[in-house]
Symmetry: C2
Subunit: 249 residues, 2 copies
């Protein structure tokens, strides 16, 4: 936890009292005492500092100065064929730590239907993983997560409404012949949306539907990665493409 993330509804003026895992973290990991300064952030708001006013066994009181910058919304969105719940939790935290504006969790032919019953998907149970990602990465911008149990309505009705926001549209699939630098603008300067398939990959029909939406296919190369490696790998590659300058040729 590199940032103590606060929620607007718990902050009273410039004070907040924590009683949950954050209080525990401040007390036992950071070992903060009265007068110490901590890095805090307000959900979807600014990053700032907090001064510890008191540390008790069950609660920690903080005085806030939330005058720092509001993090920018990351320029990348992720479409993810729903992985198994234990993997999903990890991947949501990873994607949030690497920085994504939105995550579309979608069905695909090779997604096991039972995965949609995961408790993580009920009542925004995934928020815990997203918040963990923000606390890790020192960010306050909660990605918007939506769940789409039917593939076709997603690609035909929902996705098209977002396409104008994401001029760069990429889909990873093993049988593509091109690699990422051939299919993405280098350097990458626009908003990008990236689709990552299930174990076993997308089926042709799915690739075709994404192609209709302007998604360009690329291969990660001959090595097949699990989704908890593929997601950080690809988000990091997009980030690197954003950092390249014409000098870097």
């Amino acid at each position: 936890m590199n940032l103590i993330l606060l929620f607007p509804e718990e902050v009273q003026g410039d004070r907040v009292t924590l009683t949950d895992h954050r209080a525990e973290h401040i007390r036992t990991v950071l070992r903060s005492t009265e007068g110490d300064q901590l890095r805090v952030g307000l959900l979807n708001g600014p990053i700032g500092t907090a001064t510890v006013e008191s540390v008790a066994r069950r609660e920690v009181a903080l005085r806030l100065e939330l005058h720092g910058p509001v993090p920018l919304i990351p320029p990348t969105a992720l479409i993810l064929a729903l992985p198994r719940p234990i993997m999903l939790k990890r991947v949501l935290a990873q994607a949030t730590a690497l920085g994504v504006a939105r995550i579309f969790l979608i069905n695909a032919n090779r997604v096991e239907k039972s995965f949609f019953q995961a408790s993580l998907l009920q009542d925004q149970g995934y928020n815990t993983a997203l918040i963990q990602g923000l606390e890790q990465a020192v960010d306050t911008r909660l990605p918007e997560v939506t769940i789409h149990q039917r593939f076709r309505p997603f690609v035909e009705d929902i996705l098209p409404a977002f396409l104008a926001d994401f001029p760069v549209r990429l889909i990873a699939h093993p049988t593509a012949t091109a690699r990422l630098p051939e299919m993405a603008p280098v350097p990458l300067s626009e908003q990008a949306i990236l689709a990552i398939g299930p174990e076993g990959g997308w089926v042709d029909f799915e690739i075709d539907r994404f192609a209709v939406c302007g998604f360009k296919g690329f291969s990660l190369g001959p090595r097949i990665l699990r989704v908890d490696s593929a997601v950080p790998a690809l988000l990091a590659q997009l980030e690197l493409l954003r950092r390249l300058t014409p000098r870097a040729s």
Copy 2:
């Protein structure tokens, strides 16, 4: 498991009989029956195909044709400040899947000394994780793993012997001002060695010792990543730098 990995000592001529998790995988996941073809690889040797000769409750017999290519040794090595055991296991599998020639697991000021007692580190217990990575990525080249409980002898006596093999030497640390594309050749064509620090980062002394060995520091940016995101992210970024061509500017 995208490849059934075989060990030279278990292969007899062009036959092998499996009785462990691989037999279980062939039987219950792949649901192979007599005559089916499987993708197999020989540890540190060629990739090929196997024909299923028989499937019984406790064993699967295969006839091998190992005439495919021998995978190249990946052009990247990793120096990793030893993470906690549960994380180490995952990271070793991830690094192997992404492709590394060697992994040096080293001590650092912010590594908890107890991590070196992990059962994963006794009697090459980590091999299970490495093999999982190979089976995932369809590779046969087992990374060489060495464990270095003392930082200073590692950087002063052991590391220097490898430096000539790795003309590109990079160390990730949050306080560096440069980013990866400024510190690595673009495109990257030579062998590279990458050092990734512990939670909380390297201390100045450690950075200095790596600098003496010609390591250039770079920052991943403002987002702080856990090691199970940082390792795939950075290995993938190096891989992308290898794929860039002068066209890609």
